[in-house]
């Protein structure tokens, strides 16, 4: 392997430890004499609520603050700065720079969400058009851009189902949401937060929904089903039409988790598969950055039967004029304080325009080619296997199991992923989905040139060899990252847990 990677290690102190009394990193414009002279600062706050003790915030100069965070950034790994970030189900594709430039335009950054519609025609038009593109890609009939993340979209979608069943007088009896065992953890959590019990059904030998199990689970108590397609194994649910029929016949609704939409744009649409409500992750499929954990955006699309329940306000167009429409008496209400992560939506819009309809389809195709390229080159190595129909094409991601490696050598998927970090490659999603032992869920995305894929394959091949020849070397990985392996038990132990500087100081003074 020719890649030489060494992540920065600044042993950077906490910013509180860099503080020196009296330093400042920002100065305010002075108050004009007429404002300053006429007011007594002591008299601005009621005495009982005056802050007597200043917050213990760090005191640094501007450059010191900047350097601290520059150092920290060098101890982090991003798509745009790394080599490959094949985190399955997260679609870590290239985050185009032009999108960031546009999202920093003062005519969006300085816009307040409560401004009169007359002054926000540009952004309203952009959002309205984005909604149209979203419906076109997904085959749905109406949508909201309000949810701030994928899980937020899931919950919003299930709340729409809830309102639908309530409206039909059936909420009392429709208490269950069916979820396959391969589902993302957010699915059962969202269903639960929306007030439903979850019923898990097992996958069949092909890794798809078992129709018999589904038939047995569906009934008058079913509110709906949540499904990802392609599912988390990267396998297309080819019996999706039958699945929809079973759920609809039972009076339930179909929810589509759009986390894996990147596989199928232009090839097929959830709306045509029988789904009634969907979300999509703009931070996955539509190239907006993941920001170290967020912000994302999780717009929700629905068929007509759920449109009345969508959150307020809607964005409507009337003779070329755009406005926010609050008149939705059956709406579930608001799900976000304002209009959702608009700045993220703007980046997704820029991306869609950069790709166009044909470009989006080609993106999906190349994401699928990349995933199959990697998985087919790795699946026959001794330590790995592709469970569930290995000959079947995967979509945008493939779940490799390192089960054989574990039983042969004692090296688990955890160490495979830690060793990958030493090559300067990000690890796949590990131990998910739960139905694959020693899962390594690989999603290269279409952004990766074949050279990066080859580097990943080479690294995985070397790790396979090491596991059988010199497993001890794997067990001490990673070495080339800012820090070596961490004590995660200590971090969570009630005696040693430390979640803030304040607590840290208490612990230090106790010792």
């Amino acid at each position: 392997m020719t890649i030489k990677f060494r992540q920065a290690d600044w042993a950077e102190p906490l910013i509180f430890e860099l503080s020196n009394k009296g330093r400042i990193g920002y100065q305010f414009p002075p108050l004009e004499p007429e404002i300053n002279g006429s007011l007594d600062p002591e008299n601005l706050v009621p005495e009982s609520l005056q802050r007597r003790e200043a917050p213990d915030l760090p005191e640094l100069s501007e450059l010191q603050v900047l350097r601290h965070y520059m150092h920290l950034s060098q101890m982090n790994y991003g798509v745009n700065s790394g080599l490959i970030y094949p985190l399955g189900s997260c679609t870590m594709k290239y985050n185009p720079i032009i999108n960031e430039v546009l999202a920093s335009h003062p005519k969006i950054t300085g816009l307040h969400p409560m401004q009169d519609d007359e002054t926000t025609q540009g952004i309203l038009r952009l959002l309205h058009t984005l909604k149209g593109y979203f419906l076109e890609i997904t085959g749905m009939e109406d949508a909201t851009l309000q949810p701030a993340a994928g899980a937020h979209g899931e919950w919003t979608g299930i709340m729409l189902m809830r309102q639908y069943h309530r409206d039909n007088g059936e909420l009392e009896k429709r208490t269950e949401i069916i979820i396959p065992d391969s589902a993302h953890g957010t699915n059962p959590a969202s269903a639960n937060m929306a007030g439903f019990k979850t019923v898990e059904i097992l996958s069949n030998d092909s890794g798809t929904v078992d129709l018999d199990a589904l038939t047995a689970a569906a009934g008058p108590q079913t509110a709906g089903l949540m499904l990802t397609n392609p599912n988390t194994l990267g396998v297309f649910e080819n019996q999706i039409t039958e699945v929809s029929e079973i759920v609809h016949d039972a009076g339930g609704l179909m929810y589509y988790d759009g986390a894996n939409l990147n596989a199928i744009m232009g090839w097929c649409r959830p709306g045509d598969m029988g789904f009634d409500v969907i979300h999509s992750n703009l931070h996955k499929t539509f190239s907006t950055p993941h920001g170290g954990g967020g912000p994302g955006s999780g717009p929700v699309g629905v068929k007509e039967l759920l449109a009345d329940y969508l959150p307020v306000p809607d964005i409507v167009e009337d003779g070329g004029v755009y406005r926010l429409d609050w008149d939705k008496p059956k709406s579930i209400g608001k799900v976000h304080g304002f209009h959702g992560n608009v700045n993220v939506a703007l980046k997704a819009y820029s991306y869609m325009v950069a790709m166009g309809g044909e470009g989006l389809k080609e993106s999906s195709e190349l994401s699928v080619l990349n995933a199959n390229y990697v998985s087919r080159k790795l699946k026959d190595l001794k330590g790995y296997e592709l469970t569930y129909d290995p000959e079947k094409p995967r979509k945008h991601e493939a779940v490799l199991s390192s089960g054989p490696m574990l039983s042969d050598t004692g090296v688990s998927a955890l160490y495979v992923s830690k060793k990958l970090l030493d090559y300067g490659l990000h690890a796949p999603t590990t131990y998910f989905p739960l139905i694959v032992p020693e899962a390594l869920m690989i999603e290269p995305t279409e952004s990766e040139p074949v050279e990066s894929l080859d580097a990943f394959i080479e690294a995985m091949t070397e790790i396979n060899e090491l596991a059988y020849e010199n497993p001890v070397e794997l067990l001490s990985a990673p070495h080339n990252t800012s820090v070596t392996k961490l004590d995660e038990v200590k971090a969570a132990h009630p005696k040693t847990i430390c979640l803030s500087w304040r607590r840290f100081c208490q612990i230090m003074s106790d010792e």
Binding site: D56, N76, I123, S363, L369
Partner: protein, 460 residues
């Protein structure tokens, strides 16, 4: 334009062919052969493009240019506020290593974001007077929702009391959030003169089934909730939790909620270094005391300190993940996965630049400017500002006795000024009233301009 796209390195036909050859695939369609034919979309997605970067830039900036240029920052608040964002903040959040990373599932290669968020959590704790903060929620409104659900899980009670003067938007989100869990939300009256929470009404409504009493400080109407200490005592008398929602820019001058009895603090972190961006992304703050009963019930990601196994070096890691959806699934404390991490980093950078002195100056500057505006507007004929006789922070109500709010807003708009939030729909009892907001970004000149246009609008 060539068929090869700049974002798609393997769209070069020779490369694509070679890749397919190597894995024994004769066409891309082979890879989609498992999709039943009746589901295959036969059309072409009707989305314009592909476009060059220059085309994208021209098109999208063209749309943004259609937003009106105002002569000064909008006089709007209510949960998103115009504040200055120092350049260092923007520089840091545009670093590719932060911007284009994801949740730090691999902590060894993600110490940068982990430490940054640990510092954010720590700074929030200092500001609000708590011991533990999570790494972020979507916004203030969903943070109130989560705080209510958290209170209910801790107390096993189901009633939440809120001020009747809270933002209708936040109230709507709260209601939507807690309905499935069977929680009821009840409004507590305000004092007609001061706007403060009516303690008698609170005492009447709080009971053995109350999970939480919630106040906002400063309130949605902009005044400081002077009854904050008493409200907390009343809540605690019935073993309800005391939840306080904050605008963090006030906390350099206002007492930390942890110092007047709050059990859980939530709020909006947008003003700490995050642009308004038409209302998103925002930053939901959630903090509580170091008490295991609370921490175990907290929603969202939390970063903690730990050590390397080999040489005991200090390091950072996501912790208490057994509360979260990817482990606990339907039994998780919340479904939240993606959060607002980068906004939290921005807030951390902002607070580091400000320091204790900056936060005090920020609060004093805001109050001085807002007070000046309030006085000048209040001197206009036929205007009452504010309608409540209390100390105000950066927002204040303006009541127009002889003119409609929408007419005033229109007159201001035509002069390049964005008026305050009309309260006519949210609070019809207040008559023709708007909620104006003035911060450190509004100069005396801006305020004087507002006042002079208002004066014309009132007499015109």
């Amino acid at each position: 334009m060539s068929k090869i796209h700049r974002y798609l390195p393997n769209s070069v036909p020779e490369i694509k062919e070679k890749m397919m050859d190597e894995i024994g695939v004769s066409s891309i369609a082979d890879l989609y052969s498992d999709i039943p034919d009746e589901l295959v979309y036969k059309g072409v997605l009707d989305i314009p493009g592909p476009s060059t970067e220059a085309e994208v830039k021209t098109h999208v900036s063209g749309l943004l240019e259609m937003n009106t240029t105002l002569r000064c920052p909008p006089f709007l608040g209510g949960g998103v506020w115009p504040h200055y964002v120092p350049s260092v903040v923007d520089e840091v959040v545009h670093r590719a290593e932060f911007l284009t990373s994801y949740t730090p599932y691999q902590p060894e290669i993600s110490q940068g974001i982990l430490q940054s968020i640990f510092e954010y959590q720590s700074q929030v704790c200092e500001l609000v007077g708590m011991d533990v903060a999570n790494s972020s929620l979507y916004d203030w409104s969903t943070a109130v929702g989560e705080a209510a659900l958290m209170s209910s899980r801790i107390t096993r009670k189901t009633k939440v009391l809120v001020p009747d003067l809270m933002s209708h938007y936040r109230y709507s989100v709260l209601k939507t959030y807690v309905e499935p869990a069977g929680l009821s939300v009840e409004k507590v009256d305000h004092d007609e003169i001061t706007g403060l929470m009516d303690l008698e009404d609170l005492k009447e409504k709080v009971d053995g089934d109350t999970a939480a009493v919630y106040i906002e400080n400063p309130s949605y109407m902009g005044f400081v909730e002077e009854n904050a200490v008493d409200v907390g005592e009343i809540a605690h008398d019935t073993k309800a939790l005391y939840v306080v929602g904050v605008d963090p820019t006030s906390l350099g001058v206002l007492k930390a909620p942890g110092d007047y009895g709050a059990d859980i603090v939530c709020g909006e972190g947008q003003p700490l270094g995050n642009h308004m961006s038409y209302g998103g992304p925002l930053l939901g703050i959630l903090a509580c005391r170091h008490d295991n009963r609370y921490i175990r019930q907290m929603p969202g990601r939390i970063i903690g300190i730990t050590e390397t196994l080999k040489d005991q070096r200090r390091a950072y890691v996501m912790t208490l993940q057994t509360r979260e959806q990817h482990i606990r699934r339907e039994k998780a404390t919340s479904n939240i996965c993606s959060n607002q991490a980068l906004c939290a980093v921005a807030a951390g950078v902002y607070l580091s630049l400000m320091g204790p002195t900056g936060m005090r100056e920020l609060g004093e500057t805001i109050m001085s400017r807002a007070r000046y505006a309030q006085r000048k507007i209040g001197e206009l004929p036929g205007v009452r500002a504010p309608i409540f006789n209390s100390f105000h922070f950066k927002e204040f109500t303006v009541n127009f006795q002889h003119k409609r709010v929408d007419e005033i807003s229109k007159d201001l708009r035509e002069n390049g000024i964005q008026a305050g939030i009309p309260l006519t729909k949210q609070f019809p009892d207040f008559g023709e009233t708007s909620l104006f907001c003035v911060t450190e970004v509004h100069s005396k000149k801006d305020v004087d301009m507002l006042v002079s246009v208002l004066k014309e609008a009132l007499t015109g």
